[in-house]
């Protein structure tokens, strides 16, 4: 492993993990709203959430670029107000990974929340628990398997994301060069050997992530 490769591995690890962490709170909220509430426009929000899965990644990337670019509505505002640039920095990688894995987290978690018996939530409330406490102590723990599955899928997707990332973050060694981008570059230039090396690294990272999630969920598994 060269120093550059280590840098790539490290960058990919923390940016993927951070992106999953960042989408967790909104992901949990959206999953709950979709699972437990009926509201007008629900199907639209659902479709909207699923979009990054349905559209080719370049298209998602292009949309993000248009939004976050210095001339885009969000990027422009950030630039004017805070002198912060998103596009072509690690922040853009973070956002691209988050957006691309969001649907996977939400769909898994939502399905799991739907399976939690409303009755248990009701019983918990007769015992004096507020809806908020019920959510944290009953709903979410009972949906933990789906949550774990969602997190694993989201993290895996973040590791593999390429199309949207390169569009919005470019390929900048050390700043935005995730494993996927580097593998792509090696494949493009015919450096199959280097590509293979990083491929193996990606596989090992996936293996570790799966293994951690297995171990965590096994610890409290009902027989």
């Amino acid at each position: 492993m060269t120093a550059e490769e280590w840098q790539t591995i490290w960058l990919t690890t923390w940016v993927s993990a951070l992106s999953v962490l960042l989408i967790l709170p909104p992901g949990v909220a959206v999953a709950w709203l979709l699972a437990r509430k009926e509201w007008p426009g629900k199907s639209l929000v659902e479709t909207f959430v699923a979009l990054p899965l349905v559209l080719p990644p370049v298209a998602t990337g292009l949309i993000l670029l248009k939004l976050l670019g210095r001339r885009g509505p969000i990027g422009g505002w950030l630039h004017e107000s805070f002198h912060v640039d998103i596009v072509f920095t690690w922040k853009a990688v973070l956002i691209a990974l988050g957006v691309m894995s969001f649907p996977l987290l939400v769909r898994s978690l939502r399905t799991a929340i739907e399976e939690v018996p409303v009755r248990l939530e009701g019983i918990a409330r007769t015992l004096g628990a507020s809806p908020w406490r019920v959510f944290w102590t009953i709903t979410l723990p009972l949906a933990r398997r789906g949550l774990a599955a969602g997190v694993v899928l989201a993290f895996a997707r973040a590791l593999g994301e390429f199309g949207a990332t390169i569009m919005v973050a470019g390929f900048i060694q050390g700043e935005t060069s995730t494993i996927s981008l580097v593998i792509y570059q090696h494949v493009q230039t015919g450096h199959d050997h280097e590509a293979m090396k990083l491929l193996v690294v990606a596989v090992i990272m996936a293996f570790i992530a799966l293994w951690i999630s297995e171990t965590l969920s096994r610890r409290r598994r009902a027989p």
Partner: protein, 233 residues
């Protein structure tokens, strides 16, 4: 009866080739299946045995790579098309680009390139600046993108000061303008080599197709889309 041909061609040729294929099909009655992609990806596909009759690359390197592997019918190879390299800036930019050296100045902080390691457009750009001994100063400012289109989009976004693309690509976007056209004398010779492939089962038809691209009506189309047609070597 003219057989169906599969043509693998660099994505930047998409519009021109679609038009030309219309003419070809009307004239010969043969059908063309056009496989569009990045030249590097097309080369990989051909290497791995994907069925293809003709390959049109956006640079010489990809074609040579296949030639070395003995996949190209060398007799049919010709370098007939060319393109020009341009520097684009956002259409409302006040930046004046007088040449390569402007790019090395501090007024230009970030430049988008189609990945200079892999994508032809970027490789040509790098060659040009290397020739001017400016590459070392510029390399750290480079934002590598997946392809020419992403390079344009990067300029459009306003997050880079300039970008290097083909002249034909610059026409795609209204949000960028050409700030500088690299003179043919200064830049590398951009060539789109084309050749029939050894694995082709329709060698004659492939040859006939390549000849058709040489006809004046085909050339007119290429020129209409901004390509430079090189004189027969």
């Amino acid at each position: 009866q003219t057989p169906t041909l599969r043509v693998s061609a660099a994505a930047s040729l998409a519009d021109a080739l679609k038009k030309i294929h219309g003419l070809y099909e009307k004239k010969t009655g043969g059908k063309i299946e056009l496989n569009l992609g990045a030249s590097s990806q097309l080369a990989r596909q051909i290497e791995e045995g994907a069925p293809s009759d003709v390959f049109i690359s956006a640079d010489l390197a990809k074609m040579e790579g296949l030639e070395k592997k003995g996949l190209v019918n060398a007799a049919t190879k010709e370098n007939q098309l060319s393109n020009a390299l341009v520097v684009v800036v956002p259409s409302d930019s006040k930046l004046q680009i007088a040449g390569g050296k402007t790019l090395a100045e501090s007024s230009v902080a970030k430049i988008a390139f189609a990945d200079p390691k892999a994508v032809p457009a970027g490789i040509y750009g790098k060659e040009w600046l290397t020739k001017l001994s400016l590459w070392d100063k510029i390399e750290s400012k480079v934002i590598a993108t997946e392809n020419v289109r992403a390079c344009l989009a990067a300029v459009e976004s306003g997050n880079v000061d300039a970008g290097i693309v083909y002249k034909t690509d610059a026409a795609i976007s209204k949000k960028v303008k050409i700030a500088f056209e690299v003179p043919a004398s200064e830049g590398p010779v951009i060539t789109y080599p084309m050749a029939a492939l050894k694995s082709s089962t329709h060698a004659d038809a492939a040859k006939a197709y390549l000849d058709f691209l040489d006809t004046p009506e085909a050339k007119a189309v290429f020129e209409k889309f901004g390509f430079v047609v090189l004189p027969e070597a």
